[in-house]
């Protein structure tokens, strides 16, 4: 029997000639990352065992993106710990506020996540980079500390599930809707411990930014990783990113799944039947078509995050908001995920559209997505957000509510003051 792309990447990095699901392997890590919440614990462990040197100071990214620009003194101390450690060990990819972006938007943009790479990050949404044909997964802080020292990590080889997306996307439907539909179908533990491999002609026609959104939310189905075989779109995206930001790290390798590879399950979806979707509180699997949702008034709208804070999301939002006004008593918070996206939004006139519509246009940060800062909900308040989790208390008070959607649904809802389909506005 042949191998899946996930198995091939793990096999290559473990130096093995064969693997099967369930095997425990120790594999070489090409790149790792931590942020201002998770990396302080890793640094504490690194120092507790009196480690002297990191395995490779060009293969570590430290991104203070969650509670920055520092929201309070404790957060400032945590961010400082990253800066001090980075200076001490010459960490090449440390991103100070001003260069910093939301990590999972930043690394692909910088050409630091590449096809065939094995990447681990102390953040659950590290699975995002599978969109580029990498094996990429979230780990804990102690795992990251061990990677800092050895450049290796242990894994249990996952079974793979194949999701075949066929047909043509409807208007206002994007990667977010495809992944919400999938999670709605299989549930929040429907792919627990497994690799989710996305394929089919609809994926082949999907722009990279939408693919990143899909793999980003693989964790919301409990998956170890999401992954898409590299194609012309992948190569276009990766070459441009490498050339622009990190030309010295230009090597990559494209793996594909064998025709006779083994899958624990194969599921097919006809994307022409998928509408813009909304995940209702309090699970990402609680999915309903936007047009069927009536009379859900909102207090806040957030457009941003590692899921949907990319330039294509901001363009869609601006298209809907152009010449419109945010409904009175509603707050619209637009957060470009990186500095590059921020600048593009300014240069393309998108920032202008947002501010004229009555939105705030914020500096990059994870901010409200995890209830950190820049838009915390009060008791009884309700938000629609392009983020990835709608758990109890995720964006603030335990008695607040979060609804998840794509950027078009979120922007339209800001205009109407209630959750709606984009066509209710445009």
């Amino acid at each position: 029997m042949g191998y899946t792309i996930t198995e091939k990447i793990l096999m290559a990095h473990a130096g093995k000639k064969s693997v099967k699901s369930g095997d425990f392997i120790e594999a070489k890590v090409d790149f790792c990352l931590g942020n201002d919440i998770t990396a302080p614990l890793s640094i504490n462990e690194f120092e507790r065992v009196a480690a002297k040197k990191v395995f490779d100071n060009t293969r570590i990214a430290l991104v203070p993106d969650h509670f920055t620009p520092a929201k309070d003194m404790k957060s400032a101390n945590n961010a400082k710990q990253l800066a001090v450690f980075s200076r001490k060990h010459g960490i090449k990819h440390y991103y100070e506020v001003g260069q910093m972006g939301v990590e999972h938007a930043l690394l692909p943009e910088q050409g630091l996540a590449k096809p065939g790479d094995l990447i681990v990050g102390a953040d659950s949404h590290t699975c995002t980079y599978g969109a580029l044909g990498a094996f990429s997964t979230g780990v804990g802080s102690t795992d990251l500390a061990a990677v800092f020292i050895k450049g290796k990590c242990w894994f249990r080889v996952p079974e793979s599930m194949k999701f075949v997306f066929k047909g043509k996307l409807r208007k206002w439907v994007g990667g977010k809707d495809l992944i919400l539909h999938t999670i709605g179908d299989i549930g929040v533990s429907g792919a627990a411990y497994k690799a989710m491999e996305f394929t089919g002609d609809a994926i082949r026609h999907l722009p990279m930014e939408d693919r990143l959104t899909m793999c980003n939310m693989a964790i919301e189905a409990g998956a170890k990783n999401g992954i898409i075989e590299p194609d012309a779109e992948t190569i276009r995206y990766v070459k441009k990113a490498i050339k622009e930001f990190n030309p010295e790290r230009k090597a990559y390798k494209c793996y594909t799944s064998d025709k006779d590879a083994g899958y624990s399950k194969v599921i097919e979806y006809d994307v022409s039947k998928i509408e813009p979707l909304v995940a209702m509180p309090h699970l990402p699997s609680n999915v309903r078509p936007a047009h069927k949702i009536k009379d859900i008034k909102i207090d806040q709208v957030v457009i941003g995050s590692c899921t949907n804070g990319r330039i294509s999301d901001l363009r869609i939002a601006a298209k809907i908001l152009k010449g419109q006004k945010v409904k009175p008593w509603v707050r619209l918070i637009v957060i470009p995920a990186t500095q590059k996206i921020y600048l593009e939004a300014v240069n393309e006139g998108l920032a202008n559209i947002f501010v004229h519509a009555g939105a705030v246009f914020s500096t990059p940060s994870c901010g409200p997505c995890l209830g950190g800062h820049l838009g915390i909900l009060a008791a009884g308040e309700r938000a629609i957000a392009t983020t990835n989790r709608n758990f109890v208390g995720r964006m603030g008070h335990p008695q607040s509510e979060v609804y998840l959607s794509n950027a078009a649904v979120a922007a339209a809802s800001a205009v109407k003051g209630r959750i709606c389909h984009p066509e209710d506005v445009i």
Binding site: F24, I37, T38, P40, L41, N44, E45, R48, V49, A50, A51, H66, F67, K71, D72, K74, S75, N78, A122, D123, S124, T126, G138, V139, G140, S141, T142, D143, A145, A146, I149, K150, W154, V188, S189, A192, Y193, I219, G222, K224, L283, L370, G371, G372, R389, F391, V392, G393, R394, G396, P398
Partner: protein, 170 residues
Amino acid sequence: MKYKGKVHKFGNDINTDLIIPARYLHMTTAEELAQHCMEDADVNFVKKNKPGDIIVGGDNFGCGSSREHAPIAIKGAGVSCVIAASYARIFYRNAINIGLPIIISQAASKELHDGEMIEVDTEKGIVKNVKTGKTYASDVFPSFLQKIIKADGLMNYTTGAKPARSKKKK
């Protein structure tokens, strides 16, 4: 290892935001985090919990964010071990890595109730209801993970360093 304590029962899909809400993630010590353990799942948990007590969850315990603060908060609160029908994978790794005993038992997860006194024997793989005497089988760790557990966590397994988080008194 053997543990004895009172059950605190929770449902399915207990995510790490419920275990330790992000509003406390600027904290990094077990002592601070323990004060807010399980706060958004049960606001009175910290008041009710006694050292040695046992958390019993359903399916997919610890799903969501990779925050290691979640098992640290549970361990810091003095919870002796966690039993669940299944775990989300990052939480499972993190618990092993920091030395929080973590047990899979579908039967125990289904049948145990809040407030019941139980005994857990991790080596034999047995969970016992003290009052009724009923026992439930639990999964034993795969041999690879036993090596990490025997080394008292991942860092010691990786570096051969001395345990600092060991419970054993020196």
